[in-house]
């Protein structure tokens, strides 16, 4: 199964939950960090990196000698990435979305594929767990193409090794976040019980609900704010699978780079329990046999 750990708001504890769940997962698992703008999962899982490669996107390269200045490419480009100034063709590779439309329509063969570096994907092993991450190049604006690259690589290994995937998603509910949860079998929304937490949680719930995937909540820092998030979940039949109490000890463990589930025996039990519940919700549920 693929479990997406998502959240409308940044800093609610997605990485804490992803790392903790991966560390107690009872069957083969691959942890995937798709928060490519700010990947943090590796700081807690401390994988041994076994390989990495740069990821690129195709952008057009113009050949002035062949260009007839017909303007077909600049007409079709929706992203202002190629334009004709007089009869000089200028490309702006950083604006390009890599759709290939300009290459497709150029009648003179004046455009050839070049590439722009998006960032890099790395992979490795943390104990028994597989690990993948993407890291966006600083200055690169578009994260979805790199995310697609990381996800495809991780999915290939997951299929080959019959492992589950736990995906640490980017925050928010716009294109990158939706992209990250699109292929998931189960979505776990991590929130905190504060007005900010609730507002962003509601956005995420509304964004992901139309996908008709099993969805559940984890409340981090329970006891810190109010109980509006819990009430929202009850009203919308969203199961709350775990509440991690606000506790200075937990915050300190996190600040030292510890996996929270490994910080205290009680938290370990809480995350083992969360893992069991999530596995029940997903496909090929180990619980169905138990219920039969």
């Amino acid at each position: 199964m693929i479990l997406a750990v998502a959240s409308g708001k940044g800093g609610t504890g997605k990485t804490t939950v992803s790392a903790s769940l991966a560390s107690v997962w009872p069957t083969p698992v691959i942890a995937v960090d798709l928060d490519v703008e700010e990947p943090n999962l590796h700081l807690f899982l401390r994988p041994e990196i076994q390989g990495s490669e740069k990821a690129y996107m195709e952008v057009p390269l113009a050949d002035e000698d062949k260009c007839t200045a017909c303007g077909a490419c600049s007409d079709i480009c929706q992203f202002k990435a190629i334009s004709l100034l007089g009869d000089v063709l200028i490309t702006f590779p950083e604006m390009c979305h890599g759709c290939g439309a300009c290459l497709e329509v150029c009648p003179a063969g004046a455009l050839t594929p070049d590439r722009r570096e998006l960032g890099e994907v790395s992979w490795g092993q943390a104990g028994k767990m597989g690990f993948f991450m993407g890291r966006l190049r600083v200055g690169e604006a578009m994260s979805p193409p790199l995310m697609r690259f990381v996800r495809a690589k991780a999915a290939k290994l997951a299929t080959a090794s019959a492992a589950d995937m736990i995906v640490d998603c980017p925050p928010g509910v716009s294109c990158p976040a939706v992209n990250a949860v699109m292929d998931a079998d189960v979505i776990l929304l991590v929130t905190e019980p504060t007005p900010f937490g609730l507002y962003d949680f509601r956005l995420a719930h509304e964004a992901f609900a139309p996908m008709n995937k099993p969805m559940a909540a984890v409340i981090n820092r329970a006891g810190l704010g109010d109980d509006e998030v819990q009430r929202y979940c009850r009203r919308h039949d969203l199961p709350i699978l775990a509440e991690i109490p606000y506790d200075r000890e937990v915050a300190q463990a996190y600040s030292q780079g510890q996996i929270v589930a490994q910080a205290t025996p009680a938290l370990k039990v809480a995350f083992e329990d969360l893992a069991a519940q999530v596995r029940c919700v997903g496909p090929n549920s180990p619980c169905e046999a138990a219920h039969a």
Binding site: E38, L43, C99, Q252
Partner: protein, 294 residues
């Protein structure tokens, strides 16, 4: 008229709570919430809308099943896997379509429409702390630097027209398109971080981005007492990198208590964090004026 931007790289470091407090302390300013994906500042400032506008950005492809001849060319050529076989016809997944128009131009049956995409709304509002410009994208839309740019442009125009002396912006998390758009040409970025491995890692990346775009930056360490050793190491890092350290704020549940009441921390209490923030604001303003003059 300096522009000051509050960012962090990492989410959840306290950007918005701090921006709210600074907005309370600042005089004669316009407030912007540039986190158009998951905005939260309005929860503290309770804005009353004066004008609400629709935001359209780009286009999306829509296949007319009546005209589609099922040739499959669009699906073959789409690089975003946005075209799905749906029984006898094809349809476009709006979440995957990037609006590149390739399928529209290739379709031999001219079966693909290309309407503008309605991505969200933006508004100008009144708050108890002055005017505010903010937005809300619809879920799943491209987290658009365009909307951020539009908000900033509007704030500038409003400031010039009405004689406001400062633009104070709450920025988006991350280092991608919306952050890049919020940063260009700003006078000072205040980087809010926390003494954790993630806080440190993301601070380094967002600082690299500031340098890439030549934006002066200073730092606030929030929740500094959660890990004194990490805080010291962050302070040393700032000194080494020539970054002004505006404040080191201890963790205080009063931040959340104030938020629950819909107040900013400087309205909720007089000393403690509020005093620290008042001192930080003095330094931030002085630095911003200096950078603006430079």
């Amino acid at each position: 008229m300096p522009e000051i931007l509050i960012i962090s790289g990492k989410g959840g470091t306290g950007k918005t709570s701090i921006t709210g407090a600074l907005a309370h302390l600042a005089k004669n300013k316009i407030i912007c919430d540039l986190d158009v994906d998951a905005p939260d500042l309005h929860l503290l400032l309770a804005p009353q809308a004066i004008q609400v506008h629709d935001f359209y950005s780009g286009n999306e492809a829509i296949i007319d099943p009546e005209l589609c001849t099922y040739c499959g060319l669009c699906q073959e050529k789409c690089r975003f896997e946005a075209i799905i076989e749906d029984g006898e016809a094809y349809r476009v997944d709006p979440l995957k379509c990037e609006g590149c128009k390739l399928c529209v131009s290739l379709c031999p049956a001219e079966a693909i429409a290309f309407p503008q995409r309605h991505c969200g709304t933006w508004q100008v509002s009144d708050t108890r702390m002055g005017p505010m410009v903010h937005a809300q994208l619809f879920p799943g839309q491209e987290n658009s630097g365009r909307l951020v740019a539009l908000l900033r442009q509007h704030a500038r125009e409003l400031a010039q027209e009405k004689g406001y002396e400062l633009i104070l912006s709450d920025g988006p998390p991350g280092i991608g398109c919306p952050v890049i758009s919020s940063m260009s040409g700003t006078d000072l970025a205040v980087l809010v971080t926390e003494p954790t491995p993630s806080g440190r890692h993301d601070l380094e990346r967002v600082l690299e981005l500031c340098r890439h775009f030549k934006v002066p930056a200073g730092v606030i360490i929030n929740k500094c007492d959660i890990n004194a050793e990490q805080s010291r190491s962050l302070a040393d890092y700032c000194a080494r990198e020539g970054l002004e350290l505006f404040a080191e704020l201890p963790f205080d549940p009063a931040m959340v208590q104030a938020m629950v009441r819909g107040q900013v921390i400087t309205e909720y209490q007089k000393d403690g964090l509020a005093g620290e923030l008042a001192r930080a604001w003095e330094k931030i303003m002085q630095t911003a004026e200096r950078k603006k003059a430079a």
